[in-house]
Symmetry: C2
């Protein structure tokens, strides 16, 4: 757990990680300074020290550089769900996996803060970010389903055997799907509510309150 994304793999792979991270960071910093609309791919590439063509080897779209800060956060969360203690309920396992990921993001605090600032500044990017998060939830749903089937932690996080999207969706039951989607929603709602007034409450408290509300079945107005 000490060195997750550090000296993993050979030189080639490390360089790729570095380049990707450099591009993403350059994009966010430039956007925070000048506004996302005024930042061209050329500027981002120059700041990261690569050619424009290389930028498009890493990102399909200019906006992706603003949206996808950490490309393999999804994989880490899936693994965390699978590795969680067997004693935890599905909802609890998800809560812990997400909390761990949020704690890790906290270490890149400044960058994530800029990211949030950039994304909230243009509705366009906000939509893309929300959508990207939701796409991750499909992976989480698979992990939850596997966990339930196995009755405990599982070994691998390798991509499912299903070939098409059709099959993959068909293989998922309603419950894991709903659980993953709701958990993702819980995170986003917590983040949004907290970031509206960061001084009013600790983020972790908001996060726990949201999960408590969910576990209670969203009872009518608590006022």
């Amino acid at each position: 757990m000490s060195e997750k994304g550090a000296a993993q793999g050979g030189l080639r792979e490390r360089k790729k990680r570095a380049t990707r991270a450099a591009l993403a960071e350059a994009a966010v910093r430039l956007a925070a300074e000048h506004g996302a609309e005024k930042v061209t791919v050329e500027a981002i590439s120059a700041a990261a020290g690569v050619s424009v063509r290389t930028f498009f080897n890493y990102f399909d779209t200019r906006d992706d550089a603003f949206v996808v800060i950490d490309a393999d956060a999804g994989a880490r969360m899936r693994q965390a769900v699978l590795d969680a203690p067997a004693a935890l309920s599905p909802l609890q396992a998800l809560r812990e996996a997400l909390a761990a990921e949020l704690a890790e993001a906290e270490q890149q605090h400044e960058l994530w803060r800029l990211h949030a600032q950039v994304v909230h500044a243009s509705p366009h990017l906000l939509v893309r970010t929300l959508g990207a998060h939701m796409a991750d939830e499909t992976g989480l749903a698979e992990a939850v389903a596997a966990r339930i089937r196995a009755g405990g932690p599982t070994a691998s996080v390798s991509p499912p055997a299903c070939a098409t999207d059709e099959e993959r969706r068909g293989a998922l039951d309603l419950y894991p799907r709903l659980l993953a989607a709701v958990a993702g929603t819980a995170v986003r709602t917590s983040v949004e509510h907290w970031s509206a007034r960061p001084e009013e409450a600790a983020f972790l408290d908001v996060f726990q309150e949201v999960f408590a509300l969910l576990a209670a079945g969203l009872p009518a107005p608590p006022a």
Copy 2:
């Protein structure tokens, strides 16, 4: 309730609605036939009988034409939440508002089916669609909050007095926000689960089961 989006307003407004609808429909049909990537703005515009420049007067982006079929569905849902009987709990009011909107979409059955087909064919568009739906949830959260404050149905759906996004988010409490987000999640999860195997269960049954699971607090595996 009989003529919602029909002969509303003057000729000018009707023409704009018609043009927008024609563009959206042309986009979806062309994409369903040739694949979204192969459909140019020029083709869409030609099919709708307008110039390319006019296309961009209605949509900021080419992809928007594939994503936003019904531009003011969000406003209708907000109004429905505000107009719901005072006896309903917030969760119930949301459920009814969403169910009504889904029923209306059923009348454009073929178009929505094509839309789903197009969107699920390219992950890119799926992400955008998911994000767009989530953006609507902010409006729903406002409606829920207003409903709770008023203790019953309210009159207007006019935009809130808040100037900035910052203020608007600050004005929202945790509970309405969570409720709206979770309800939106419920709809998407229902649609996805049902559309994976449409023959296995009626959509409305899936929809109701999801809300039942939510109201029960997402208890551990029902198996």
